[in-house]
């Protein structure tokens, strides 16, 4: 067994980490990724996880709910440990101040792996990114990293149990906010990426004619006030439109693949989204479908592609979690991952190629 998971529902960080340590006592980890409820003090959980596993690099973030094999949890810590049969090489770095462009992390990767980031083969390496979920800089980070390397980064935005006060990323035994953790892994086994969002494209198009991509605000669609155009596309009043946000977000659809942009609120005629959109983008109205069925289908496809699964890291949007909770389907969603070593969490945004919403991005190991 090259990948092992553990979890604890103990509300005390010291006891929770001890619990994790006990579950992994016969395992020699090289790398551990962990996701912890914001109810567990971030500084303490980061420090104790690092101390408990001195031979491993540990990294992770705070959450809006946790996921482990067969279950969706709250107020817990979940961990996935990789030994040397799973990961040949790895390096974890922190982007400590997202307001400053920093090549320090990339320089560190280049020194560690002894090759320029531009030349790292995406078939050989994979990146994981965990970002402060309240920074609103995920698009800029992913865009910049996408220019600098072909290594695929997958990951998500940290959560804080829907308080929207402070989210944290963890590395080096510390917790950080307004920061991102980047990890580059050289897996010893095949991997694949899953981006699954449970929506169908509707014929209505909304072209962004006026927007502020940095504040994630859209002022106009199709030359009309954004809220009016969105409501018209749905055939409802502007007052009714917010009730449709979860069921009918919009998406940038490219070659049949939607990159979801979820509406957050209407302020006057302006619409605020959870993800940036650029002027000129043509967005499609989307309609939600069956999260359970589409997630199962995506996981089965990954299993067929790889010939088996030894581990899954599931970055699952909090909006999906809320929809599952509303429909009483959380247990059923957890069961999609029964028998498959899984960790993950409910996120404030997902990353794969770019920043997206209402999606689950999964890193799957054979």
């Amino acid at each position: 067994m090259s990948i092992k998971t553990a979890f604890s529902l103990n509300p005390d960080p010291q006891n929770a980490v001890a619990d994790i340590r006990t579950q992994l006592q016969d395992f020699d980890p090289k790398l551990i990724v962990f996701f912890a409820s914001s109810s567990l003090a971030p500084d303490e959980i980061a420090e104790r996880m690092e101390a408990a596993f001195p031979t491993a690099e540990t990294f992770g973030c705070s959450t809006a709910g946790e996921i482990t094999t067969g279950k969706m949890l709250t107020k817990s810590i979940v961990a996935m440990a990789f030994n040397r049969q799973a990961i040949k090489n790895s390096k974890v770095e922190v982007l400590e101040d997202l307001d400053k462009e920093s090549y320090r992390a990339f320089n560190a990767f280049q020194r560690h792996f002894n090759k320029p980031m531009k030349e790292m083969d995406p078939k050989q390496y994979v990146g994981i990114i965990l970002v402060d979920g309240l920074c609103r800089k995920e698009e800029l980070i992913m865009d910049k990293m996408g220019d600098l390397t072909n290594v695929n980064f997958i990951g998500s935005s940290a959560g804080d149990d829907l308080k929207f006060e402070s989210t944290y990323v963890f590395a080096n035994g510390k917790s950080y906010n307004h920061a991102a953790v980047l990890a580059i892994l050289e897996p010893a086994t095949d991997i694949t990426f899953v981006k699954t969002q449970s929506f169908r494209e509707l014929p209505q198009k909304l072209t962004v004619t006026k927007a502020n991509e940095f504040t994630r605000e859209v002022y106009e669609f199709n030359g009309k006030p954004a809220a009016v155009a969105y409501a018209e596309a749905l055939g409802v009043s502007v007052e009714e439109a917010p009730k449709r946000f979860m069921h009918n977000p919009v998406g940038l659809v490219f070659e049949g693949e939607p990159f979801v942009r979820s509406p957050q609120q209407i302020k006057g005629d302006t619409m605020l989204f959870y993800c940036s959109v650029k002027e000129g983008m043509e967005l499609s109205l989307l309609e939600s479908t069956d999260i359970i069925a589409s997630t199962k289908q995506s996981l089965d496809a990954a299993r067929s592609e790889l010939g088996g699964i030894s581990g899954v890291i599931n970055f699952n949007c909090i909006l999906r979690t809320l929809e599952l909770n509303q429909k009483g389907l959380s247990d059923e969603y957890g069961k999609v991952f029964e028998g498959v070593p899984t960790v993950g969490f409910s996120t404030y945004g997902e990353q794969y190629i770019g920043h997206i919403n209402q999606t689950a991005t999964l890193l799957v190991f054979r």
Binding site: P122, K123, D143, E255, E257, F259, M281, G354
Partner: protein, 62 residues
Amino acid sequence: MAGKIKQMIDTLITLRAKDNAMLVGIIKTKLMLKGIDSNKFTAQSADNPVLIGKLEALLKEL
């Protein structure tokens, strides 16, 4: 000169993908997320100075 945008996009994809067919799709998606739909430009597409500027900056980074 018409078609310059398509030419620049094709060059960018070729340089980034380096014969890796799987990468072509990802690079095109990255461009789409930047607001550049690579499938919309042909050899007859009119030049757009703003877009050309963006593509020049990307090519310079390479």
